[in-house]
C-alpha cells in the first residue's frame, strides 16, 4: 500500500489539536493560533496536492485505504472520486479562513475554540473520504459534538436553545439511518459502499432504506419542513461556526444523496423524485419569501441557504448530467458565498454587536472596501452571471427543464425572489441614509478580514468565469453515477 495520504489528511488536524491541548497554560493564545493556522494550511496544501495528483479520467475510487476494523467484517475504508475531492478541498479551504476570522471575533477561550474547529475539520474530511457506511456514520455524527460546543459556548444569547435544537434534530434524523445501515449490513453482508454498488439491494427493501437515509439527509440539508433548526443555529453561532455550518456541514447531506441514496437505491430514488421535487420547490419559494421578511441579517442568509439547498436537491434528483453537476457546483459555490456573507455579517457584528438590518444603512460612505466586497457576495448570492452562483443555478434549471417544465418554472421564480431579498438587503445595509451615528466612527475592514474576504471574492468570480477545473474533476464521476443509475432503472423495467 502507498503512503496513506487520506488518513494523513483526516488526522492531521486532530493531531495538531492535541498539540494545542498540550500547549495550554501559556498566557497568550498566539502559539495556539499559529499551530492551528499552520496545520490547517498544511492540510489545505495537502488536499490541493491530492486534487492535483488524482486521475480525473477514471471513475473509480482513488487513494484507496483499507484497514480491518470491526470484527474483520467492517473495514475502515477510505477513498475519493471526482465528487468528494471538491468537498474536501472546500473543507480545507474554509477551515483556515475560520481560524483567521476568529482572531478578531473570539475573545474568550480561544484555545478551546481552535481545538473544536480542528476536531470538526477532521470529522468533516472524514465524512467526504469514507467509503464504508459505518465509517461514514461515525464521522457524520461525531461532527455534532464540536458543533454543539461551538454554538453553545461561544454563541449568542439564545445559544442553549439553538445548540440543543441543532443537536437533537440532527441526531433524531440520523438514528434511523443507523438502523438502515445495520439493515443493509444484514441484507448485503457488507457495509463497503463499493461492494454495495455491485450487489444491488433488492427492490423491496429500497424504499424503506431510502426513507431512513432521507430522514437524516433531509434534516442535515436542511429541507423544508425540517429546516427550522438552521436559522436558529446560524443566528446564535459565532461567525466561524456559522461559516462552517453553512459552507460544509450542509453539504454533507447533498454529498450523502450523491454517494449513498442515488447509487445504492436507484429505484427508490426514482420513486421518490416527486416528493423531493415538491419539497425542493416549497423550500425555494417559501423560504425565499421568509427571507424577505427577516430583520436579522444572519437569519436572512440562513433562509437563503435553505432556498439554495433546494436547488441542490432539485438538481440531484433530475438524474441528468447538467442537474447533478449543477448541484455539486452550486454546493461548492454556496460554500464560498455563504461563508463570505456570514463573514461579512461577522465583521459588522464585531464592531457594533448588532445583526439587525435596521442598525445599519449607508455603510458605503464610511466603509468603502467592505461595501464593495459585500456587494460582490450579495450579487453572487443572487446568481449574477459572471459569479459562481449563476452557473450552479443555471445548470440545475437546465437539468430540471429536461424533466419537468412546471417544476423548472417554479424554481426559476425562486431566482427572482432570491434577487429580491439580496438586493433589498444590500440596499438597506450598504446604501440608504446613515441613521446610526456610530457608523461614522467605524473603521473599514482590517488586513486579515480583507485577505480572507478578498480570496473568497476572487474564487467566486474565478469560478464564475472559468468553472473548468471543477467541471473537469466532476465530469467522469458524474457520468459514471448517471450511467449506473440508468442501468439500474432499465434493468428493473420501470422506464
Amino acid at each position: 500500500m502507498d503512503f496513506p495520504i487520506l488518513s494523513t489528511l483526516i488526522f492531521l488536524p486532530l493531531v495538531s489539536s492535541l498539540f494545542i491541548f498540550i500547549s495550554r497554560g501559556q498566557k497568550n493564545n498566539n502559539s495556539a493560533i499559529y499551530i492551528s493556522l499552520f496545520s490547517s494550511l498544511a492540510t489545505f496544501i495537502l488536499s490541493l496536492f491530492v486534487w492535483y495528483s488524482m486521475d480525473y479520467a477514471s471513475a473509480d475510487f482513488q487513494f484507496l485505504e483499507e484497514q480491518s476494523w470491526i470484527n474483520d467484517f467492517i473495514k475502515f475504508k477510505l477513498g475519493i472520486d471526482g465528487i468528494s475531492i471538491l468537498f474536501i478541498v472546500l473543507t480545507t479551504l474554509i477551515t483556515p479562513i475560520c481560524i483567521i476570522s476568529c482572531i478578531n471575533s473570539v475573545k474568550d477561550r480561544v484555545k478551546e475554540f481552535l481545538i473544536a474547529i480542528l476536531i470538526l475539520e477532521t470529522f468533516m474530511i472524514g465524512v467526504f473520504c469514507s467509503l464504508d457506511l459505518v465509517v461514514f456514520y461515525l464521522f457524520f455524527e461525531a461532527g455534532l459534538i464540536p458543533m454543539f460546543l461551538i454554538i453553545g459556548v461561544w454563541g449568542g444569547p439564545r445559544r442553549v436553545y439553538s445548540a440543543f435544537k441543532f443537536f437533537l434534530f440532527t441526531l433524531l434524523g440520523s438514528v434511523l439511518m443507523l438502523v438502515a445501515i445495520i439493515a443493509i449490513y444484514w441484507i448485503t453482508g457488507t457495509t463497503d459502499v463499493t461492494q454495495i454498488y455491485e450487489i444491488k439491494i433488492p427492490k423491496e427493501y429500497q424504499n424503506l432504506l431510502w426513507l431512513a437515509f432521507f430522514s437524516s439527509f433531509a434534516v442535515k440539508m436542511p429541507m423544508w419542513p425540517v429546516h427550522t433548526w438552521l436559522p436558529d443555529a446560524h443566528v446564535e453561532a459565532p461567525t466561524a461556526g456559522s461559516v462552517i455550518l453553512a459552507a460544509i456541514l450542509l453539504k454533507m447531506a447533498g454529498y450523502g444523496f450523491l454517494r449513498f441514496s442515488l447509487p445504492m437505491f436507484p429505484l427508490a430514488s426514482e420513486f421518490f423524485t416527486p416528493l423531493i421535487f415538491t419539497l425542493s420547490i416549497i423550500a425555494i419559494i417559501y423560504t425565499s419569501l421568509v427571507a424577505l421578511m427577516q430583520e436579522d441579517m444572519k437569519k436572512l442568509i440562513a433562509y437563503s441557504s435553505v432556498a439554495h439547498m433546494g436547488y441542490v436537491t432539485l438538481g440531484i434528483f433530475t438524474f441528468t448530467k447538467q442537474g447533478i453537476e449543477g448541484s455539486v457546483f452550486q454546493m461548492i459555490s454556496h460554500g464560498l458565498i455563504s461563508a463570505a456573507l456570514f463573514l461579512c455579517v461577522g465583521v459588522l457584528y464585531d464592531k457594533l454587536h448588532s445583526r439587525m438590518i435596521s442598525t445599519y444603512g449607508g455603510l458605503v460612505t464610511y466603509l468603502p472596501k467592505y461595501s464593495f466586497l459585500f456587494i460582490v457576495f450579495a450579487l453572487a448570492g443572487l446568481g449574477l452571471p459572471g459569479t459562481s452562483g449563476f452557473l450552479g443555478e443555471f445548470l440545475v434549471l437546465t437539468g430540471t427543464f429536461q424533466k419537468n417544465y412546471l417544476v423548472a418554472m417554479l424554481a426559476t421564480f425562486g431566482v427572482i425572489l432570491g434577487a429580491a431579498y439580496m438586493l433589498w438587503l444590500t440596499k438597506r445595509v450598504i446604501f440608504g441614509v446613515t441613521k446610526n451615528d456610530q457608523i461614522k466612527n467605524l473603521k473599514d475592514v482590517n488586513k486579515s478580514e480583507f485577505v480572507i474576504l478578498g480570496i473568497l471574492a476572487l474564487l467566486v468570480i474565478l469560478f464564475g468565469f472559468y468553472p473548468v477545473p471543477l467541471m473537469e474533476t466532476l465530469n467522469v464521476s458524474v457520468n459514471n453515477l448517471i450511467n449506473n443509475y440508468e442501468n439500474a432503472v432499465k434493468a428493473s423495467g420501470l422506464n
Binding site: R24, F139, E141, A142, L176
Partner: protein, 471 residues
C-alpha cells in the same frame, strides 16, 4: 477432591482472606486503612489466581459449580470494576466518616456472592450466591447509619429486595417441582414448551432477576437507593451487581431455559423497551446527579437487555460488550463526582456543576467525554456498545425494538446534553477544592482514554467475548 478444590481456588482464597481481615479488623483498632489496602491486594491476588487458572470447562460438586471462560470473564470484570470503584472512592469514604473496617469486608463478601452467582450450575447454589450478595448490599446501602436518607434507602432496598428474592425462590421451587431437579442441565433436558408450570416458574425467576438489575417495571427502588446511599456505595451499586445480574440472566437463557426461549424472549423484549423508555423519559426532570445516573442506568440496562432479548449468542455477546463499556463509563462518571468537593462537602446537584469548565477544564472535558459516550454519540465507546447491540437486534429482524431503542437514545441525549450545558454554557458559581484524589483522577483518565481510543480498535472486546461461548 484436591482437584476440585483447585477449581474452587479463587472462592476459597477470597473466603479465607475475608475471615482473616475480619479478624484483623476486630483485634486492631483504627485499622480501616490497613484493611482497605489489604482488600485491594486481595482483589488483585484473586484476579491473578483466576488469570492463572485454566479455561477448561469443569463442573464439580455434583455439577452444581461450573468454572469456564464465561464465569472467569465475569469474575474478572467484577473484580476489576470493584477495584476501581473501591479505590477511587477512598477519599470520599474518609471525608464522610464512613471509614469503618467492615466497609471493604462487606464489599468483598458481596463479590464472593457474585462469584457463586456467575459460577452456579444449580438453583440452590445460585440462590445462595444471590442472597449473600443481596445481604451485603443491604448493609452497604445503610452503612451511613446516622444519616436518615442512607438508613431509609437501606430499609427500602431490603424490603423490596427481600420480596423479589421471595418471588425468585418461589419460582425456583416451582421449577424444581415441575422438572424434578435443581441442576441447570437436568432442568434444560426436562423443560419443553408444553410444560406450563415451568413457564410460570420462569416468570417468577425473571422477576427476581429483573429486580436485581433494576429493569422496569421492577426499578422503583433504584432512584431512591442511589440517591440515599453514600456516593461511594451508589457507584458500587451502579456497576458491579449489574454485571453479575446480567451474567446470570444470560446463563439462565443459555442453559436451563434454552428450550422455552420464545416465552422468555417476549418478556425480556417488553422489559427492555420499558426500561429504555423510562430511563430516557424519567431522567429528564432530575436535579440530582446520582438520581439521574440511576435513571440512566435503568435505560442502559434496557439496551443491554435488548441484546439478550435476541435469544442468540451474537446478541448475548453484544450485551456483554455493552455492559463492559457501561462499567467503564460509570466508573468514570462516579469518579468525577468524587472530585466535586467544596468545603469538605461533596456536591451532587447538577446545578453545582455550573460553569466548572472555566475553573477545572480537564475535569470538564472528561465529564464531557463520559456524558457523550453515555449518550452513545460516535466516535466514543458508548456508540460502539449500542452499535453492537442493535446490530444483533436487527439481525433477528426485530426492527421495532431497534427503532424504539435508537429513538430513546435521542431522548436520553437530551438530559446528558443538559448536564454538558450546565458544565460548559453556564456561568461558574462554585470553585471546587482541588482535591488530591489521585486514584479517582487515574480512573477518570483510564475511563476517558478507553472511551476515546475505542474507535481505533473497536473489536478488542468482541474478540474476548467471542471466546466465552465456544463451549
Amino acid at each position: 477432591m484436591i482437584n476440585n478444590l483447585n477449581i474452587l481456588l479463587p472462592e476459597i482464597f477470597l473466603t479465607l482472606s475475608i475471615f482473616s481481615i475480619l479478624m484483623i479488623g476486630v483485634f486492631i483498632k483504627n485499622s480501616f486503612n490497613l484493611i482497605f489496602n489489604l482488600s485491594s491486594l486481595i482483589i488483585l491476588l484473586t484476579i491473578a489466581i483466576i488469570l492463572n487458572s485454566s479455561n477448561n470447562v469443569e463442573k464439580i460438586f455434583l455439577e452444581s459449580f461450573t468454572r469456564d471462560t464465561f464465569s472467569n470473564f465475569f469474575k474478572i470484570l467484577i473484580l476489576v470494576s470493584s477495584l476501581f470503584v473501591l479505590n477511587s472512592s477512598k477519599n470520599f469514604i474518609l471525608d464522610n466518616k464512613l471509614a469503618k473496617f467492615e466497609y471493604p469486608i462487606i464489599i468483598l463478601l458481596s463479590i464472593l456472592g457474585m462469584f457463586f452467582m456467575v459460577s452456579s450450575n444449580d438453583i440452590i447454589l445460585f440462590y445462595l450466591g444471590l442472597e449473600l450478595q443481596s445481604l451485603s448490599l443491604y448493609i452497604l446501602a445503610s452503612i451511613d447509619r446516622d444519616n436518615l436518607r442512607s438508613s431509609e434507602s437501606g430499609i427500602k432496598y431490603f424490603v423490596l429486595s427481600a420480596l423479589s428474592s421471595g418471588l425468585l425462590l418461589y419460582g425456583c421451587s416451582l421449577l424444581y417441582g415441575f422438572t424434578g431437579s435443581t441442576n441447570f442441565d437436568l432442568i434444560a433436558n426436562e423443560l419443553s414448551e408444553e410444560n406450563t408450570g415451568a413457564v410460570f416458574a420462569m416468570v417468577f425467576i425473571l422477576v427476581g432477576l429483573a429486580f436485581k438489575v433494576s429493569a422496569v417495571p421492577f426499578h422503583m427502588w433504584t432512584p431512591d437507593v442511589y440517591e440515599g446511599a453514600p456516593t461511594s456505595i451508589t457507584s458500587y451499586f451502579a456497576v458491579v451487581p449489574k454485571v453479575a445480574g446480567l451474567a446470570v440472566l444470560i446463563k439462565f437463557m443459555l442453559i436451563p431455559f434454552s428450550k422455552i426461549l420464545m416465552e422468555w424472549q417476549i418478556i425480556i423484549i417488553f422489559i427492555s423497551i420499558a426500561s429504555m423508555i423510562l430511563g430516557a423519559v424519567a431522567a429528564i426532570g432530575q436535579k440530582n446527579i446520582k438520581r439521574l445516573l440511576a435513571y440512566s442506568s435503568i435505560g442502559h440496562i434496557g439496551y443491554a437487555l435488548a441484546g439478550v432479548a435476541t435469544g442468540m449468542i451474537s446478541g448475548y455477546e453484544s450485551s456483554i460488550v455493552y455492559i463492559a463499556i457501561y462499567v467503564v463509563m460509570n466508573i468514570g462518571a462516579f469518579s468525577c463526582l468524587y472530585l466535586l468537593k467544596k468545603d469538605g462537602e461533596y456536591k451532587e446537584n447538577i446545578s453545582d456543576l455550573s460553569g466548572i469548565s472555566k475553573k477545572h477544564p480537564i475535569l470538564a472535558i472528561s465529564f464531557l467525554v463520559i456524558l457523550f459516550s453515555l449518550a452513545g454519540i460516535p466516535p466514543l465507546g458508548g456508540f460502539f456498545a449500542k452499535f453492537y447491540v442493535f446490530t444483533a437486534v436487527v439481525e433477528q429482524k426485530m426492527y421495532a425494538l431497534a427503532i424504539i431503542g435508537l429513538l430513546t437514545t435521542v431522548i436520553s441525549a437530551f438530559y446528558y446534553l443538559k448536564i454538558i450545558k450546565t458544565i460548559y454554557f453556564d456561568d461558574s458559581i462554585i470553585s471546587f477544592d482541588v482535591t488530591k484524589n489521585k486514584f479517582a483522577q487515574l480512573s477518570i483518565f483510564i475511563s476517558c482514554g478507553i472511551l476515546i481510543t475505542f474507535f481505533l480498535y473497536p473489536s478488542v472486546l468482541n474478540n474476548v467475548v467471542d471466546t466465552l461461548f465456544l463451549n
